[in-house]
């Protein structure tokens, strides 16, 4: 049978598409996943409905008190120290009052008040903009309220970084491993080309431990379930004045800051 070049190319093209497409379809249908009976959380895991924090800056008397918190987090999570603001990766750090709460600029407030440091981190928002925009669900909201990162799925598009109104996310502009001071062998590192941020110490919560920053804060950070009205955190928020960062943007942050009521305020 005679066939001209056009027909040949058309048949070849369609066969290729069908062949590749059906292979892909069959492969993805084959993925069985684990049966529900074979997997379960650790019995020591703390069940949460909504992860939340209240930070009481008055409990941090010196710079070392705060540094302990950042060190605790960054060391156990293999957060690299890139050493320059262009490439830096940070999960928890501090900013001055004016940078933390920019809508509260106040030209007549005391200089001391404006210079006060505030611990900032991902707010694990209840309506997170970053989750809304991620095209692969590499960042997603877990049942316990943690805004999580799936490093395996992230394509490094950085849409989430553009969306986060709090500047909480960092990107690995280069291979982070040479910049990790001391590796924690029980936790993975990340690789270049993925976004990372605080992941709520999910691996500690899973075995019944508090987040590392909370432990290192010596009472400066209250941690708990915002959906449990009897929790210490809810009682604190319900009885004292608290601020959240940029609440007007509608992302519903879960990190609160205590204000006032102390001679240091």
């Amino acid at each position: 049978m005679s066939i001209n070049r056009r027909q040949f190319l058309k048949i070849a093209g369609i066969s290729t598409v069908l062949g590749l497409g059906s292979t892909a379809a069959i492969n993805s249908a084959k993925r069985s996943g684990l049966e529900a009976s074979t997997v379960s959380p650790d019995p020591a895991a703390i069940p949460f409905k909504r992860w939340g924090m209240v930070i009481d800056m008055s409990k941090f008397k010196t710079e070392d008190d705060r540094k302990k918190v950042y060190e605790a987090c960054h060391s156990i999570h293999n957060v690299p120290d890139l050493g320059n603001p262009k490439d830096e990766v940070k999960w928890i750090w501090e900013e001055k009052f004016g940078a933390t709460f920019p809508d509260n600029e106040n030209e007549f407030a005391s200089h001391e008040a404006m210079e006060k440091p505030f611990i900032v981190l991902c707010n694990h928002c209840a309506a997170p903009a970053c989750v809304r925009v991620c095209p692969t669900k590499a960042t997603f909201k877990r049942k316990d309220g943690i805004v999580m990162m799936d490093m395996h799925r992230c394509i490094g598009c950085r849409f989430c970084m553009a969306a986060c109104p709090f500047g909480a996310r960092s990107f690995n502009w280069k291979d982070p491993r040479p910049f990790i001071k001391k590796e924690n062998l029980e936790f993975p590192t990340r690789t270049k080309g993925v976004v990372e941020k605080c992941t709520g110490c999910y691996e500690r919560l899973a075995i019944g431990q508090k987040p590392a920053c909370v432990e290192a804060s010596n009472g400066g950070i209250i941690f708990g379930d915002l959906e449990d009205p009897n929790s210490e955190i809810r009682k604190t928020i319900g009885s004292r004045y608290t601020l959240r960062r940029k609440p007007a943007l509608g992302t519903e942050p879960s990190v609160y800051y205590l204000i006032g009521g102390n001679e240091n305020a």
């Binding site: 993925r31 996943g33 684990l34 009976s37 074979t38 997997v39 379960s40 959380p41 650790d42 019995p43 895991a45 293999n78 997603f140 877990r142 049942k143 316990d144 999580m148 799936d150 490093m151 395996h152 590796e183 062998l185 029980e186 936790f187 993975p188 590192t189 990340r190 690789t191 999910y202 899973a206 075995i207």
Partner: protein, 137 residues
């Protein structure tokens, strides 16, 4: 054939390139990979359970499907918040490459790499998951 000379020469060069991997390896003996499972951690479990095959699932299943299992574990841990895996023989394990699999198979070069190198497979797991630091023992 129009331009017959050029076409035949082109075909010859193409065949030379395409068959290179084959004739380049003539005569080189390539032994079957023998991954070693004699780490102290494995020996301990073998003594405990009194049998030789002590991996999470039977050897054949692990050999063929360990990548599938790791992917399933990944989704279960990262996305669903699970931690414990109940194997087909009833034993419970923590779903973790670094802290479970590699605790027994701490000899990555003599175990994982043996087959992977043979098959020219380069899994990028190790870009993030810290491979066990092997001692000289």
């Amino acid at each position: 054939m129009y331009n017959g000379g050029k076409i035949i020469i082109g075909l010859a060069i193409f065949m030379a390139f395409v068959t290179f991997p084959f004739y380049n390896n003539f005569g080189k003996a390539n032994a079957k990979p023998e991954p070693k499972t004699d780490t102290p951690a494995i020996k301990e479990v073998q003594a405990q359970l009194g049998k030789k095959e002590v991996c999470i699932e039977p050897k054949a299943a692990m050999k063929g499907e360990h990548m599938q299992m790791l992917n399933d574990w990944r989704d279960s841990v990262v996305r669903d918040g699970n931690r414990i895996y109940v194997a087909s023989d009833g034993r419970k394990h923590n779903m973790s490459l670094q802290n479970t699999c590699m605790k027994c198979h701490s000899n990555k070069k003599e175990f994982c790499d043996k087959c992977h190198n043979y098959m020219a497979v380069v899994p990028y797991c190790w870009d993030c998951h810290i491979a066990p630091k092997e001692n000289k023992s």
